[in-house]
């Protein structure tokens, strides 16, 4: 089971629902329980009040003495060990005991638990009392009667009722209530999860579509999204489109700039070559200015080439497509095998299918092209290219069987214009460009000795901001 994270909207909503639902159910149960138990007590009180009234109605005063029939209309008062019993007391209860006891109260030691509380005439009190192992409701009603002599006689009519029946009823109610509430809560949780899934589905679609854009499977977010998200997805599409257009414009500008600068530089270079050849053919002395101009021309070319190649370098933009390394690498190797056909180099390619570069295809070609071209140029017969990685990282290695290098030579290689081997044509900017482009993507370039005998170039990248 996946751990719920507070960084996820879905997890937040699930956690909030799981906390809120028991709270609501608990409060609801408490309210319903209170209402029911209160209603139960009120019913009990009304019933006991009626019993008290029945006792009062049956009571008579004869010579200042209270008289009540032995058998009462309520049978429960006439049975021994009944759950209901009643007594009548006056102010002498503590010394003389009760004036009257129902049959059902004859086996009760009233004086041991009843304190003989006195109420004002016409007042009543409903309370609870613990007798032995049992709980009782108690209703006490106070009356004052005048006898034939005009004497005022106070009496307390007290009815006791065992709570067990009422408690059992409450227990059964609570039992039913909790079962129903549990079931409703379970249903609500299930419904909430379904609603959550349905409600968050468009966000999931946006994430999937963004992932497809990053993987290069889609050019933009093409799904149908709800209006709450469409503003955001439209903005993302505009951003992707703007980014692509800007790159295209940038590429075209660079191409035009390169064409505009390189052609005059090529003409100067060619003119100087002609001048040198002519001087050689006519046995004229070498002109130092020709060499000077040639040197400066080469310098201009080197700077322009370096800056133009470097300018290709993009960056780890959020909507960079993931470009598979293998097909690009195979394309470059196939092209270079034509160029270096005379060398008959054996190229071993060991690239994982999922190894990909998150950036501009032009930048990847610049990286691989420069490194593989160097391997062809300086290697003898063997080149090994390997790459592994996932959607979030890439490890690339290109090695050859050329001559090994000292640590100082390796340091020089990544500097613009520095070349370890000046016997082979080149401008010495290849590795410097590779270093610059990889840096712009946060990558790392390491030069090592290869087991094949020559140089091993290692490139590693760790992409951030990947949609998962």
């Amino acid at each position: 089971m996946a751990i719920l994270s507070l960084h996820s909207i879905r997890s937040r909503l699930i956690i909030a629902s799981c906390l809120l639902l028991p709270l609501v159910c608990g409060l609801l149960a408490w309210t319903l329980d209170k209402a029911y138990s209160s209603s139960l007590e009120q019913g009990q009180q009304r019933q006991m009040m009626l019993q008290a009234y029945a006792l009062i109605a049956a009571a008579e005063i004869d010579n200042s003495t209270l008289w009540l029939p032995e058998q009462m209309s309520d049978d429960r008062l006439n049975q021994l060990s009944s759950d209901t019993f009643a007594i009548v007391t006056n102010e002498k209860f503590k010394t003389e005991g009760a004036l009257w006891k129902s049959v059902s109260a004859s086996d009760q030691l009233i004086e041991s638990f009843w304190q003989g509380k006195r109420l004002e005439a016409g007042q009543y009190e409903f309370s609870n009392l613990h007798i032995g192992q049992k709980d009782y409701f108690v209703l006490q009603y106070s009356v004052e009667w005048e006898d034939s002599l005009g004497q005022i006689l106070p009496f307390q009519f007290i009815v006791f009722e065992n709570r067990s029946a009422s408690d059992q009823q409450l227990f059964e109610y609570r039992n039913t209530l909790w079962w129903w509430l549990g079931g409703i809560a379970l249903l609500l949780v299930t419904l909430q999860l379904v609603i959550l899934r349905w409600g968050l589905h468009p966000i999931g679609s946006v994430i999937d579509d963004l992932f497809a854009v990053q993987q290069g499977e889609a050019g933009n977010l093409a799904g149908r999204y709800p209006k709450e998200l469409s503003l955001m997805t439209d903005s993302i599409n505009q951003l992707i489109q703007h980014q692509a257009k800007q790159r295209e414009r940038y590429r075209d500008t660079l191409a035009n700039l390169a064409h505009s600068i390189k052609n005059p530089v090529a003409i100067i270079s060619s003119t100087l070559d002609h001048a040198k050849d002519e001087a050689k053919q006519k046995n004229l002395p070498e002109q130092s200015w020709v060499d000077e101009i040639d040197e400066q021309n080469q310098r201009i070319n080197q700077i322009v080439t370096y800056q133009l190649n470097r300018a290709v370098g993009g960056s780890a933009a959020p909507f960079n497509k993931a470009i598979q390394i293998k097909p690009v690498c195979e394309k470059i190797v196939s092209a270079l095998k034509k160029v270096y056909a005379d060398k008959s180099v054996l190229v071993t390619i060991n690239i994982e299918q999922k190894a990909s570069f998150r950036g501009e295809e032009g930048d990847l070609m610049e990286l691989l092209g420069n490194l593989i071209d160097n391997a062809f140029k300086y290697g003898q017969q063997k080149i090994s290219i390997s790459a592994r990685g996932s959607s979030s990282d890439l490890y690339l290695s290109i090695e050859d069987d050329g001559t090994s290098m000292t640590a100082k030579q390796k340091m020089q290689l990544v500097r613009r214009g520095e070349r370890a081997d000046t016997t082979i044509p080149g401008q010495g900017i290849g590795l410097a460009v590779v270093s610059d482009i990889s840096s712009s993507y946060g990558g790392e370039l390491i030069l090592e000795d290869s087991n094949l005998g020559g140089l091993k170039v290692l490139l590693s990248f760790h992409w951030k901001g990947q949609v998962t």
């Binding site: 052609n263 070559d273 160029v339 295809e361």
Partner: protein, 228 residues
């Protein structure tokens, strides 16, 4: 050998033509993609030098159309930007080598010679046929240790026959590839050159390097012994 130079920059194209002419190559020129496509398809070209940034039709498209039409001559691309995307696209379209602008003419000439040699089926520029040694790079022919004096046309005829030694080469083909367009095709000058070549290369008539194939033309008969 007839070379097609496709470059829109007039000054650079003129310089390239001059430099290659000096090396005894016959030149055809094109200043845009459409002209290049036409000349590559219709003219007897042995190698094309194509700038990628051309008006009307870009260099990559021209190369693709040539290859689709079955054109097999080697192609050297020139690119101003020097980006690998352009180079790979050009090579993938059917080019065989690339050169980034600006370049030294010496480097261009070396690439042209290497491509012609490779397409002639030779991996080395020094070809040894027994007593006869031909250095394609220096355009020099030695019989034993002695250099043989050949005129430019004689050397070009010999080189063309060596590069196409797998089949007989007709007089018409030799005329088309070794001479300018306005050359008199009915003349028997080819026969004269072949006769002179045979005498210079095989004075003792022991090697018989060039054989006449009746009704088809001439074929270079010697096989390379060693390659350096």
């Amino acid at each position: 050998m007839k070379l097609l130079i496709v470059e829109d920059e007039l000054k650079l194209r003129t310089q390239l033509c001059q430099a290659l002419n000096q090396q005894d190559y016959k030149i055809e020129q094109a200043e845009d993609g459409e002209e290049a496509l036409y000349k590559g398809l219709e003219y007897p070209i042995d190698l094309a030098i194509v700038d990628l940034g051309l008006p009307k039709m870009n260099g990559v498209e021209v190369i693709k159309k040539w290859r689709e039409s079955g054109i097999k001559f080697p192609i050297l691309i020139l690119t101003a930007r020097g980006h690998w995307q352009d180079k790979v696209e050009g090579l993938d379209a059917g080019a065989d080598d690339y050169l980034v602008k600006p370049f030294h003419l010496a480097e261009l000439l070396a690439r042209v010679k290497a491509l012609l040699r490779r397409f002639g089926g030779h991996s080395s520029s020094k070809l040894v046929f027994g007593n006869l040694t031909i250095n394609l790079s220096a355009k020099q022919v030695l019989l034993g240790e002695q250099p043989i004096e050949l005129t430019a046309y004689e050397y070009n005829t010999l080189e063309y026959l060596i590069h196409h030694s797998d089949r007989p080469v007709s007089k018409t083909e030799l005329t088309e590839h070794l001479y300018d367009q306005d050359f008199d095709r009915d003349s028997n000058v080819i026969e004269v050159f072949i006769g002179r070549l045979r005498k210079k290369l095989d004075p003792s008539a022991e090697l018989s390097p060039i054989k006449t194939v009746r009704g088809q033309g001439y074929r270079f008969e010697l096989k390379t012994e060693t390659k350096n």
